[in-house]
Amino acid sequence: MTLLQNIITGISVGGLYSLYALGIAVVYGVAGIINFAHGYFIAFAAYVLLALAGVPVLVAIVCALAAGIAIAVATERGVFRFARGADPGTLLVLAFAVALAIKSLLTLVAGSDTVSTSFGSELAKPLQIGSLSIVWIDLVTIVVAGVMLAGLALLLNRTPVGVQLRAAAEDFTMARLVGVRSNRVMMVAFAVSGLLAGAGGLLLVARSGTLTPTSGLQPVLIAFVAVVIGGLGSLPGAVAGGFLLGGTTVALQVLLPEEIRPYRDAILYTLVIVILTFRPQGLLPSANERSRV
């Protein structure tokens, strides 16, 4: 029974990590930016949720998701649009700069102290099924991640804009030549990543109950690792990387002996470096990411 319980926790954490990773992967696919600022989109959406403490929960949730989309689209219009075609290193440092800008804005407005909230506190209770005890938030996380993944799959495979998005991710120049409007597709990619960031922010706050301007750092580092392990530019790879990282985190937490458990992250990230050494293109690389020489 504890095994089943741990598997459910693993799926829940993996689902959350997949949401983080997909937000990075969608933007990377189209724009070629490893968007370090994504973590601060997450933090921004979470702060909007907390700022709306008095209003009905559903309204606050919708506003937080909208805020995630708004900040993502705003950075595209305000910054990244002017750097199209720059080399990958410059884009990564640029995203780093945008991340710091959002973080310092949050610090200016909300202060650098930890803020606590009761949002999601009722989800911390366990659900008892026979001898199996599952925390509600784990179930909610799994459902939200499932809905978002399914929705994204539908968007990409069944709608014209989704097809354009995939075409642009495959070959941006070619897509433009056959009539895909680059500004529009770029905006859609950022909007989708902003929505994913909003959902991730809600789950983050509901799980931890606290928030600081640096709360976005951990998620974005996790997302980076998941995306690169899965294979940059591949959306299924990002999901697989998220689940692999989440599952490994939970497994290490459960299996490591008590005295080395604090070093879980050190072990995890050493594994990351080792995996990258043997598979620098990730586990499921997309076809157009392979080196041609």
Binding site: P88, L92, L94, A97, P262, T277
Partner: protein
């Protein structure tokens, strides 16, 4: 161009620009040393920043492989230096569970700094084995991973590092001229490496990795050399940092410091030593001025009240503008050159150097 007809040998060609960095820096330090002790302290921190920016340049600037993980070596250097210099009586109190050798060895700052450089270099040589095989995004991610691993270990290895709290009791015996001496040594070392055959081969691989491989450059090996050297420089910076503040904690060597050093390097000019040093000086001054205004003090009789956190926002916006408008930094990634010689872009100079190499 034929090497035999070139009247200026490579080491001398590097000596001019190096003197052009070390001498003005000495003048700046001399001026600052006339000010009050608080100003000297700020200047010592600025010189530690110069060392970090030069250390990051030695790898990132010359190889073109980005790294967000170098602050990990600063952490290793700072802890090494602290463990060697905290007075034994204090040490028994702040770190009661230290293993034997570490509990009983006390050295001077200079010895501790050299040991810090050696330990940081050894550590970077170890992590270079897997990491230097990577390039592009995988290199960037693995450098983040390194930073996280070191933070996790320094936070939890309580018997040696004192854990998450602040490690105190380090003598604050780093003088302004002492800090300047280390900065000058590091600049000379970085310049010598940059103009050495190994440094030039690495720079060639930065401009075109495949072409460099084709003419016989062992790219991974050259990257390892630069990585270990820059690790050692970061170790020196860590020791300086420890003896500047006298106390620090694991999270001092994480994203915030990484960000500041990256900003310095990019604003100055990523691909030149001149850029690294001037970027470190400019950003250090800017951060100091903004910090004073944030805390309600005046600079040159001018006081602008700013909310806390404002300086980070300014830095971020400057970085965005530089990246969009002037991606080679304020110096355009040029080196200083002999007066009278026509200034040329770093890229043209590199092409010429590679041609010289080829004979």
């Amino acid at each position: 161009m034929n090497t035999r007809q070139n009247p200026v040998p490579s080491w001398l060609a590097a000596a001019g620009p190096t003197a052009g960095l070390v001498v003005p820096l000495a003048v700046l330090v001399a001026l600052l040393s006339l000010g009050n002790p608080a100003l000297s302290s700020v200047a010592i921190g600025g010189l530690a920043n110069v060392v970090m920016a030069v250390g990051l340049y030695t790898f990132w600037g010359i190889s073109g492989v980005l790294s967000f993980g170098h602050i990990a070596f600063v952490s290793v250097g700072a802890y090494t230096s602290a463990l060697l210099t905290i007075p034994l009586t204090t040490r028994a109190f702040v770190l009661p569970d230290l293993p034997g050798v570490l509990a009983n060895t006390e050295t001077s700052f200079v010895v501790a700094t050299i040991v810090a450089a050696v330990v940081a270099a050894a550590f970077s040589a170890l992590v270079a084995i897997p990491m230097m095989r990577l390039s592009g995004h995988a290199a960037g991610i693995s450098s983040f991973a390194l930073l996280i691993v070191v933070l996790n270990v320094t936070t939890n290895w309580t018997s040696v590092t004192g854990g998450l709290g602040t490690l105190t009791g380090i003598p604050t015996d780093l003088t302004l001229w002492g800090a300047y001496a280390w900065a000058a040594v590091v600049i000379v070392v970085a310049a010598a490496y940059g103009s050495s055959p190994s440094g030039r081969r690495l720079r060639a691989s930065r401009e075109d990795e495949i072409a460099a491989q084709a003419v016989g450059v062992k790219v991974h090996r050259e990257r390892r050399v630069a990585f270990v050297l820059s690790g050692a420089i970061m170790g020196v910076a860590g020791s300086m940092y420890a003896h500047w503040l006298g106390s620090f904690g694991p999270t001092d060597f994480y994203m915030d410091l990484t960000f500041v050093i990256v900003v310095m390097l990019i604003i100055g000019g990523l691909r030149s030593l001149f850029g690294a040093v001037s970027g470190a000086v400019v950003v250090s001054v800017l951060v100091w001025v903004l910090a004073r205004w944030e805390s309600g003090q005046s600079v040159a009789f001018l006081s602008i009240p700013l909310p806390r956190g404002f300086s980070d926002l300014v830095l971020a916006l400057i970085l965005v503008v530089i990246l969009l408008r002037r991606p080679d930094g304020l110096t355009q990634s040029r080196e200083l050159s002999w007066p009278g010689r026509k200034r040329k872009t770093q890229r043209a100079a590199d092409v010429e150097l590679v041609e010289q190499e080829a004979g």
